[in-house]
């Protein structure tokens, strides 16, 4: 068990190291999300009540679309040097390779959120930055990472990868996006945990189910 965790960490650390050097992924997510949010500040006349109504939806749509871009990059890195083959040659079980990738992507999306959320709050003038939001954000990152990593691996060999990944990822993530939006809405409206506990349950269920399902299916994705 300890060895497995160490392996997952070694894999994630490798991705973090590569990202530190190239700064591709996090930058892409942050820039794109902020762009989407900025466009909406022009597109919608933001009265305080309207900001509260549409704000959470805009925020999470932005994170979802941007997240897809980042996820694309995370596998493109492996495709470039054929290092995916290199990983396949190791005796490490394919599930651990999956978890390693998910951990890396989870960290990237979370770091991106740290930048995105304050900027969003400033632009939309609603108070998203609360303790509850942190939990929501972490659950969302995890779910996006789990589903996104699986689909990114599936799409890495398709032509038009950039179209295919969003097309696959977005419909599948709808429950998670719903949960994130509704929970954030409740928080913004001054609610507390009980008001959105059902949505949190949905998010947790989503994360658990897809972490397991994707891990199991991953070996089928990787084999050639």
């Amino acid at each position: 068990m300890g060895a497995s965790l160490a392996t997952v960490w070694t894999l994630a650390r490798k991705d973090l190291l590569l990202e530190l050097r190239s700064k591709d992924i996090v930058l892409a997510i942050v820039v794109f999300a902020l762009l989407v949010i900025a466009i909406f500040t022009f597109a919608i006349e933001l009265t305080p009540s309207r900001a509260r109504d549409v704000g959470p939806g805009v925020l999470w749509a932005a994170v979802a679309f941007a997240g897809v871009l980042g996820l694309n990059r995370s596998f493109a890195v492996e495709a470039e040097g054929d290092t995916l083959d290199g990983l396949m040659l190791t005796p490490v079980s394919r599930e651990l390779i999956f978890f390693g990738k998910v951990l890396g992507n989870f960290i990237f999306i979370t770091i991106a959120q740290v930048v995105i959320f304050p900027v969003f709050e400033a632009l939309f003038n609603i108070s998203v930055l609360q303790v509850e939001t942190i939990v929501i954000a972490l659950l969302a990152s995890l779910g996006f990472a789990a589903v996104g990593t699986a689909f990114a691996a599936v799409s890495v060999r398709v032509r038009s990868r950039e179209i295919m990944l969003p097309l696959l990822f977005l419909p599948t993530s709808v429950p998670l996006i719903m949960a994130a939006v509704e929970s954030t809405s409740a928080v913004v409206d001054g609610g507390s945990w009980g008001d959105f506990s059902e949505w949190l349950q949905l998010a947790i269920a989503f994360d658990v189910i897809f972490m397991i399902a994707s891990a199991v299916l991953f070996q089928f994705v990787l084999e050639e």
């Binding site: 589903v147 699986a150 689909f151 599936v154 799409s155 060999r157 398709v158 032509r159 038009s160 179209i163 295919m164 097309l167 696959l168 977005l170 419909p171 599948t172 709808v174 429950p175 719903m178 949960a179 509704e182 059902e198 949505w199 949905l202 269920a205 989503f206 189910i209 897809f210 399902a213 994707s214 299916l217 089928f220 994705v221 084999e223 050639e224």
Partner: protein, 304 residues
Amino acid sequence: MPCGASQTGRLTRLGGYLKLANSHDFTMGRGRARDRLHILFTDARAEQKHAMAALPKIRLIWLGFTAALMALTLWMVFLWVPTEINQGNIQRALYFHVPVAWTAMVAIVLIAVASVAYLKTRDEKWDRLAVAGAETGVIFAALMLITGMVWAKPVWGVWWTGEAKLTTTLILFFIYVAYLMFRAYFPPGEQRRRLAAIIGLIGAIDTPIIYYGAQLWERAHPSAVVGPYSNNDSSVDGPVGLTLLVATIAFSVLFVYVASERYRLRKQEDEVMALRRAISLQALRVATTSDSTESISSAPAGGA
């Protein structure tokens, strides 16, 4: 290929080490594919006779049954069932909308089962079944969305309601589209079948989660939900219930018919491709074996 005395000399020296194929071998090797091809190839005539005899009858019966059910449904929906008091004639859309919704959702179950079966057995027929399910599913999902909108607008004044089944079917529609687009963008072969099966499975696993989320959303936004499901003031027994039942059965049968026809078509396409492949390889092999193998297999150590 170099000819002459030197070749004969070379062949004798290497005699036992050469492992060229002989004309008995089909170049597909020893898999199930080869066996099926063997049967097709050598018994093609017999197969043809057999095929012509059995299938069209069954298919005709099936088609007739489907058509009869649909005819009955149409009669019941348009001529038999009394007009609904509040909504008028447009309410008859219910009898299309509900069955089509039901079948569109069942399609994902079919895809799920076929995908699991493919990953386990790697038998192409499961892949064909999944595709048939997705193609039929996408059509029925689109129909559901259209009938829903056509019905809702005149009666309740909105094109879209936030109702859970509607939302779920909308997402399912996109999942089917994504599945089919993926297949379109990917070159045919084992990899495509395997990856499509994974996509299908993930979509299927997601569906109950989507539905649950959609229900939560419905409860959270009751004012947005209006329309075909919101007020069930028309009781669902009596002529309405009966028509609905018949319509559901008819559309399910239609779904099965369309899907199976699609499956059959796919199967034939695959077999034509395989036959073409085998024929071209076999022709080439006959050309080579005639000038090299004979001399080797019949002369182990001596000259040709």
